[in-house]
Amino acid sequence: MSKPDKIYRSMMARLLLCLGLVLPGLAHADLMMMIRSHQTFPEAMALLQEAIKETGYTVSRVQRVDIGLTKSGYKTDKYRVVFFGKPAEIRDLTARYPELQAFLPLKISIFAEGNDTIIVTANPQHLKRAGDAKLQKVINRWEKDISRILTKMRKAD
């Protein structure tokens, strides 16, 4: 190998290493994925659903947790859970991995905190099974997609 080639290779290696450290959500394992949006609840709620759709998922339902609480006489700020998934993927996965049926569709909770909004979900890595590379690929994509959705929400004003 010529000298410039060597330098190039070594730099390439460092670059890859450094990209690995920079890409959020990939190089580490936060158990919960949680961000603060500086948007008010209604704005954040609209953006969340839009971001989920843009990332290629279908929003299947929005559970209004706060409504049930208020009706039962408890005081609470806005609190929703958004369910989503890819229809074909969910059908395929629930057939192949029956235990995932308890966790699908995927979900993200969103609640108001003053003028800000908190968006939180469990890192899908908690669903992984040792030695299952196929499932791991799906889980990694979920993590990356959710990370992208949350980053978008964090950066919106």
């Binding site: 609480l69 609470t76 859970v81 909770s109």
Partner: protein
């Protein structure tokens, strides 16, 4: 090898080598709980002058690295020292001014006397064993008695981060703007305070209250076979849930909202149920927990076999790093097992 390949790579490489951006790291990892300006939320406030003036950088650095096991605040083991230092500098930017520096010398005191004083003056807020106040941070979204929850001072992360001198300072000066008052002003002598510090330090040797849940040993889901038909099983789940004081919220196919009407798998149904008193209680312990509520049991028929699936609340609780939630989730686990057993009897 051509220069036009090397140059952009070199530029990228040097960007990567640049000093970590404390503000960006804080926004990414901390702001969700502590607020972008450090005013608090699920986490305690970090921008109070009285707090900033009574802690040193080493305490902040170690707190970020170790977190507070079982008290919501995660440990950031994957961050580099430089990155943590950058976050500390960003925190310091909330309140410009003089910084505390503490000796790491132990404070000598009579822990037995300190124990009596602790029970009298501290336990009401910090808990009988130093386990901290109930709930987290300053959460604005629900009403509560104290504006800021008293931290757990028996916590391994706290005790490893705070030296005796820092704990003493908190007792001598209090934290103005928080419920933590100066005990010198309350009439304690400096020796009394030393005794309390010695007692707080002794928490390090106190055996933990409860065994932590072992994530790896808990199954991901609770699965039961039902001897009944699919329809009967769904009915039995509803009855069992109602029998345990839950209200049925909705029965729907798992694919509802995903597949077109009529295209859904009708032999894969979710029964959602809720007890609003329990939900309210759980949200006060951890506002994030709504993620796993309302409760649900999924009933499935595949190849003539009917099965019930539910999450395992004990395993999920581990993700939240919240001891108090572990207790609730252990109770929820028993409830789920009862419902699943009854429905598949």
């Amino acid at each position: 090898m051509q220069l036009r390949f090397v140059l952009p790579l070199f530029l990228l490489w040097s960007v990567c080598q640049a000093a970590p951006d404390g503000e960006a790291l804080y926004e990414q990892h901390c702001a969700a709980c502590h607020g972008s300006e450090g005013l608090g939320g699920v986490g305690v406030p970090l921008a109070l002058p009285a707090f900033q003036q009574s802690v040193d950088d080493d305490f902040l650095h170690k707190t970020i690295r170790l977190g507070r096991p079982g008290r919501v605040m995660p440990g950031f083991r994957f961050l580099k020292d430089q990155e943590i230092d950058a976050i500390v500098q960003h925190l310091r930017g909330f309140v410009p001014g003089k910084r505390a520096a503490f000796s790491r010398q132990p404070v000598k005191g009579n822990a037995a006397h300190g124990k009596a004083l602790y029970a009298k003056y501290c336990a009401a807020c910090h808990g009988a064993k130093g386990e901290g106040g109930k709930g987290t941070g300053v959460t604005f979204s629900r009403p509560r008695d104290l504006p800021i929850i008293a931290p757990a001072i028996n916590n391994s992360g706290f005790l490893a981060s705070a030296g005796d001198a820092m704990i003493k300072e908190a007792l001598m000066q209090g934290r103005e703007g928080t419920p933590m008052i100066s005990f010198l002003k309350q009439g304690m002598t400096e020796q009394d305070i030393n005794d309390v510090v010695a007692y707080v330090r002794s928490f390090e040797k106190q055996p933990p209250d409860e065994k932590p849940i072992e994530f790896e040993k808990e199954p991901l889901t609770l699965v039961y076979d039902s001897p009944h038909s699919f329809e009967q099983t769904v009915e039995k789940v509803k009855q069992a849930a109602v029998g345990m004081n839950f209200r049925i919220i909705r029965v729907q196919t798992l694919e509802d909202g995903l597949q077109a009407k009529g295209e859904e798998n009708s032999k894969q149904v979710i029964v959602y149920f809720c007890n609003f008193q329990l939900l309210n209680q759980a949200l006060a312990v951890d506002p994030r927990v709504g993620l796993f509520l309302p409760c649900r049991v999924t009933v499935v028929e595949r190849a003539g076999k009917v099965q019930l699936y539910a999450i395992n609340p004990k395993r999920l609780s581990v993700l939240f790093n919240n001891n108090e939630l572990n207790k609730l989730c252990t109770g929820m686990y028993d409830t789920y097992v009862t419902i699943l057993e009854e429905a598949s009897l």
